[in-house]
């Protein structure tokens, strides 16, 4: 654990990413305290530019809503959806991949055909169709993102399990009479953890991008203020108030960037052999 932290710390970008992400998390957590009023409420005249009024430091949008409050509540939505959809994808992908990799044969074949299908389908288009048909809501968005995001997890876990399964210590475990479930749980899965953690951190980033894209197209949860929605709503007034599109976009970039940086740092720290080169 100490080693891990030391190796992580050596990647400067990862530390910056961690600080950024912590900031976003804090803002999301304290949004209701900082901005007790609903971000949907009109609080001032529309198109109030940033830095004009101390109370609304980032101004107001086309409907006079407080931009900074919107950003803070948007952080909640992004993190929530990013995190939960990743957890759901892992819950689908890991067992599938582990099954396919461990048992091989026709189980592997059919599971991988299934995975391949989902990988071939244009994922964003599928997500749009799913959310549109099942009506936009937090649940449908999370489900759609998870459905299009699990295939890489399954493939990764399958590959790892496949190579670990023929590793000699796993064969030794088979010979020593351990049960298949014990072997998968105690001998194999713990050793696939590192790449899964790295992948998961990158998936949260991708999920946040996906969610923002959906809300940009008007497929966000109508009850939740999100960054993508803010950009989508400000798109038509970009000539009058460019900052309304710019600021939420910046928030997305910083959040996603921080997660990607953390992912790289985790990769350095957890797979030291693979990443030594080029650092």
């Amino acid at each position: 654990m100490k080693d891990f932290w030391q190796r992580f710390r050596r990647n400067r970008g990862a530390v910056i990413g961690l600080v950024l992400l912590l900031a976003v998390i804090l803002i999301a957590l304290f949004a209701p305290l900082l901005f007790p009023q609903s971000p949907w409420k009109m609080v001032q005249r529309p198109f109030l530019p940033p830095f004009d009024m101390g109370q609304y430091p980032l101004g107001t949008d086309a409907l006079g809503r407080n931009v900074i409050a919107g950003l803070a509540y948007g952080a909640q939505v992004s993190l929530l959806i990013g995190l939960v959809s990743t957890v759901v994808s892992l819950a689908i992908g890991i067992p599938l991949g582990a099954f396919a990799g461990y048992f091989g044969g026709w189980i592997d074949d059919s599971l991988m055909r299934f995975t391949e299908f989902f990988q071939t389908v244009p994922s964003f288009a599928l997500a749009i169709v799913l959310v549109a048909i099942f009506e936009p809501s937090v649940m449908s968005i999370i489900a759609a993102i998870a459905i299009v995001s699990w295939p890489p997890v399954a493939r990764l876990v399958r590959g790892e399990v496949l190579s670990l399964r023929s590793r000699e210590y796993v064969e030794a475990a088979v010979l020593s009479g351990q049960k298949t479930s014990t072997i998968i749980w105690r001998q194999i899965l713990p050793n696939t953890l590192s790449p899964i953690i790295v992948l998961a951190s990158l998936m949260v980033a991708t999920a946040i991008l996906l969610e923002s894209s959906l809300s940009f197209l008007g497929l966000g949860d109508p009850n939740m203020m999100s960054w993508g929605y803010m950009i989508g709503a400000a798109r038509t007034v970009i000539r009058q108030a460019w900052w309304l599109s710019f600021l939420p976009g910046l928030a997305i970039v910083l959040t996603v960037l921080s997660l990607n940086l953390i992912g790289e740092g985790l990769n350095d720290a957890l797979n030291p052999r693979l990443s030594r080169k080029g650092k």
């Binding site: 210590y169 030794a172 475990a173 088979v174 020593s176 009479g177 105690r186 001998q187 050793n191």
Partner: protein, 562 residues
Amino acid sequence: MPSTHASAARGNKMTDPVSSASAPTPVVTITDLQISLPEGADRPYAVDGISFHLNAGEILCIVGESGSGKSMSANAMMGLLPDLVSPTGGSILFDGIDLLTLSETQLLDLRGKRVAMIFQEPMSALNPLMRIDDQIAEVYEAHGLLTPSERKKRAIELLTEVGIPEPEKAARAYPFQLSGGQRQRVVIAMALALEPDVLIADEPTTALDVTTQAQILHLIADLQKRHGMAVMFITHDFGVVAEIADRVAVMQFGKIVEEGTAKEVLDHPTHDYTRKLIAAIPTLHTGDASAPIETAPALEVIGLTKSYRSGGGFFGGPERIVHAVKDISFKLGTGETLGVVGESGSGKSSVGRCLVRLQNPDAGSVLLDGEDMAHLSGEKLRTARKSIQMIFQDPFASLNPRSKVGRIIAEGPIAHGTPSKQAYARAAELLELVGLDPSAIDRYPHEFSGGQRQRIGIARALALEPKIIIADEAVSALDVSIQAQVLDLLDDLKKKLNLSLVFITHDLRVAAQICDRIAVMQRGELVELGTADEIFNAPKQDYTRSLIEAIPGRQRELEAAS
């Protein structure tokens, strides 16, 4: 046929190798060479102040175990050291120039033309996406010699010289279409292309089967004589040294501990380390094992058959079937050690894996305690496996890096219902039995060396108190001195616990040392089965004979014995 341009440039060095042998002139002189390792390595220098010279027309073997720094000096000559490793002192004089002072551009001119190199791994030493002749032609291209069509012509001539069958066809082939031995010949052809003064061979036969190894060694010695090159041959194997070396330098921990002619070093080693290394080599002497006593068989194998299918399926190409094990039968006596030897692809490992049911045989029976292992499943198989355990090849892959040693050993008995406390107590005893400190229980595998890990693997196999142990290349990944210790341990345990051993190995010396009887396999078939003495001294089959004759250093040992 040497190419005219190259030999003309360097005069008549081919004319009289005898005179150069009588008055040795150094081609390369290495003085006080020091190569530093990156921070955090186990020692500050890979090579620490070594001096030696390489004479014209001789083969100098540099011998040492892994990590002795033997490859580093060769790579330093070519300017091909890995990143973070750099020469920090001394000189490498070649043709009056210190190679360490040359710029990259000057080195480019030297590489391939004056000094050439061949490597250990023939399977990965060639670019998989380029045809063979294109890769050979590149040598000329790199030095701006010949026209493209002449280069291709030379490529075919070179392939002919190194003895590749159907050279025209091989020239247009891709590397994956050639065998390991053939690929190594291609690499040698590339090295010969410009008639270099010095050939550096970095463990060129280590990855090859024993018969292929003998051929390649022969080829290198032959080419060396014909072209009058100086050869620096790096190896860990004293058998190879005996086959090929004129002179020998022995390295340990980055220093040269002994240097001399091959005869001096092999027959009268002066340094302790050299003596220890030579003593550790298993001899081919099979004598003292009295002919195996006829005992009740511990294991009986009848008609074991296994084949693998690849390809096929709905979207695959045509199906390919490899018959790994073809109708094999043998008995293993109680307390006996049966060797299964063969080259890669002979099916020897498949036999071992079928015996413990890591693979399911297609046909045949494996009779153990009146039960047919080959047809058990579920709970019955689990119970039966208690009496037949395995020791694996790779000491680094055979222990779960995330489990403590105690758990690794105790897991099996616990899975079979032994109370955990008792299982751990037994693990401590077993560690002591295999010569490790019982405190190892609370440590992780990565804290141990290769030899120690192999001992842990043995303790794990013993934990279930088996009657039979399958050792699959169990000492192949170890340095020779460690190998000897582990072999002794196995022999000792076998006697103490009255075990029967199936010892699978590609190394006939190891087999000679430890086995009572030996089964020779080739392409899935059991070619010959006999006592170790019969196999080594009176082989009945041609294949067995060719295997025995290919053992490096055998000739010398026979001469020394008579």
